[in-house]
Symmetry: C2
Subunit: 302 residues, 2 copies
C-alpha cells in the first residue's frame, strides 16, 4: 500500500465546484502536488493560481496521479468520469486509489470497485456531509466504504478535509450511509416547513416560535440554521433542491432494492418534485416552504 | 394585578403526574404554599411530605389558591377540571389566575379564557416542552398565550420551572406554539426511524452510522437522544406514544380549521396509530421503529 505524503504522493481531483474547490485548496496548502479537471474550465482558475495543474480531461488527471478524487454531479457523471473509455480507471496504474466523493448510487460504487479490482486499482466511495461551509472549514463528515487498506492509507487526506471520517464497510457502504443522512434531512425539512406554515397561519410570530421550540426535543440543525433564512425570505442555495431530489431518488431506488417502503422518504421526494415544478430547482432546500404553502393555496410571508 | 411572592401568593396545582410532581417540588422549595389535587391520590404523597396540602377535588384547590395550575391528560380532562360545575373556574375569585399547562386544544384555551373573563379571572395557556428531565431540572420551554399582564405577573414562577418562557399572544397561542413543536417532533421521528431501518437493512452498523450523521445537517435532538435507546432496544417511555397521538390529533384538527393540509403531520399520526394498534401506546415515542419495521415485514434489531 502506498504511503500518502506530500513529497511522494501525487493527487488528482475531478470536479472543482463550490465544495471541490475548497477541498482542493486544503490539499494544496498541505503541500500536495495536485492535478485537476473540471468540465467548465473557468472553475479551475483559482486553484491553478494556488499551484494546481489544470488538465484537459479525466484521463490527463489519471495519468499524472497516484490517488484520484472525483466530486461531480450525478451518477451518470461519475460513471463517465471513472468508467468511460477516456475515464480515470482506463488510465490508472496498479496500486492507484480512486475515491468517489460524489453523493451517488451504492450500486454504482460496487460496480466501480469491481472494475477497479480487475485492474489492481483500489476504490473507495466517500460522500460527505457538511456543505460548502463544512468544506471550507475542513469540518466535513466523510462516510467511507470500499477497500479498508486504502481507507487507512488515506488518513492524512481525511484529516485535511474533515472533522469526522469513518469506515462503514465494503464498497457502497459510504453511499448507503449518505442515504441515511439524506432520509433524515428530507423528513426534517418537511417538519420544519409544515410547522412554520402552521405558525404563520395560526397567527403566531414564527421568529418567536423558533425561540420556544429550537432548543428542546423538536430541535435540529435544519431548524436552527435554515429557519432564519426562511423567515427572511432567503432561498439562496446552501444545498440545491435539484441535488436533494437526485439524492432522494437514489435513496428510494435503493430502498426498493431492499424491499423497503419508506413513506416519509417518498413524501419528501414528492414535495421537492413539486418545488422543482415551481421552477425552484436551483433554490436552496429551505425553499420547500414555498411548495408547502402553494399546495395549500397560501402565500408564505404574507 | 397580584404580586406573586411566597409570602403573599397561595398556589394550587391539579395533576401531579411525573412532570407535575417535579414542577410542584420546585414551587415548594421556593417557599410557596401549595394546594394540590390528583385523581390518583397516591401520586400526591411525596409532595405532601414536602409540605403541600392534599385536596379532595379541583374545587378545594380553587378555594385555597390565588393562582391555579393544571397539568392533566386530555382536553376532556382540562374541560372537566377547569370548566365543570365542581371545577376551578366555578370557585375562583375575581383577580385569580388559572394556568393550563396541559398540551391541549387552542380552541379550548380560547373558551376557557372567555369564561374566565366573565368571572374577572385571568387565564393563560402554557404548555411546555422538555419532558420529565426538563421538568426535574427546571429547564422546560414554557409557551404562553392569554392575558399578557398575568404572564408578566407570573414571571417568578416561570423562572422556577423553565429555562425559556415566552409570551406568544392571545389565548390559544401557547397551544398553537406547542402544536408547532409537535409537528416538528412527528416528522423528526419518521426520519429517524426510516433512516435507522434503512441502515440496518443495507447491512450498515447503525451505531457507527449515527456517529457519521448526527453532528451535521441531519442532526437533531431526537437523533442524538433517542437513537441510542432504539439501538439498545430500550422502548421505555420518556414521552408516551398515546400522548403524542393525542397531540398530533389536536394538531390535525387545528390545521383543518386553518384549511391546511400537512401531509407529514398526517403521516406521523397514521404511523403512530399503527404503533398503537401494535399495543405499544404506553411505549416511548422511539418505539416508532417497531411500526416502520413491521409495516415492511422486517424485525428491528434482528
Amino acid at each position: 500500500m502506498i504511503e500518502v505524503h506530500p513529497e511522494t504522493t501525487r493527487l488528482g481531483w475531478i470536479g472543482t465546484g463550490v465544495m471541490g474547490r475548497s477541498m482542493c485548496a486544503h490539499l494544496l496548502r498541505a503541500g500536495y502536488p495536485l492535478a485537476i479537471y473540471n468540465r467548465s474550465p473557468e472553475k479551475m482558475e483559482s486553484l491553478i493560481a494556488l499551484g494546481a495543474v489544470g488538465c484537459s480531461s479525466p484521463k490527463q488527471v489519471a495519468i499524472r496521479s497516484d490517488v484520484v478524487f472525483s466530486m461531480v454531479g450525478y451518477p451518470s457523471d461519475v460513471e463517465q468520469t471513472l468508467l468511460g473509455s477516456e475515464g480515470v480507471l482506463a488510465h490508472a496504474k496498479p496500486g492507484n486509489i480512486i475515491v468517489d466523493m460524489t453523493t451517488s448510487s451504492p450500486k454504482l460504487a460496487v460496480q466501480i470497485a469491481q472494475e477497479a479490482v480487475s485492474k489492481h486499482v483500489l476504490a473507495l466511495d466517500a460522500p460527505v456531509s457538511g456543505g460548502d461551509i463544512g468544506a471550507r472549514e475542513a469540518r466535513l463528515s466523510i462516510m467511507v466504504g470500499g477497500d479498508k487498506a486504502a481507507f487507512d492509507a488515506l488518513e492524512p487526506i481525511w484529516k485535511l478535509l474533515g472533522k469526522t471520517y469513518l469506515y462503514h464497510g465494503p464498497a457502497g457502504s459510504g453511499q448507503h450511509t449518505k442515504i441515511v443522512n439524506q432520509i433524515l434531512i428530507g423528513a426534517s425539512m418537511i417538519g420544519l416547513c409544515e410547522s412554520m406554515l402552521y405558525a404563520q397561519q395560526s397567527g403566531l410570530d414564527p421568529a418567536l416560535v423558533l425561540q420556544s421550540v429550537s432548543m428542546g426535543a423538536a430541535g435540529s440543525w435544519s431548524l436552527t440554521n435554515l429557519t432564519p433564512r426562511i423567515l427572511r425570505g432567503d432561498f439562496e442555495p446552501g444545498f440545491y433542491v435539484d441535488h436533494l431530489v437526485k439524492d432522494l431518488g437514489i435513496a428510494i431506488e435503493e430502498a426498493q432494492s431492499l424491499k423497503l417502503d419508506l413513506p416519509g422518504l417518498s413524501l419528501a421526494k414528492k414535495l421537492y418534485e413539486y418545488l422543482q415544478a415551481m421552477d425552484r430547482g436551483s433554490a436552496g432546500t429551505q425553499a420547500l416552504i414555498l411548495a408547502i404553502a402553494e399546495r395549500n393555496g397560501v402565500v408564505w410571508g404574507a
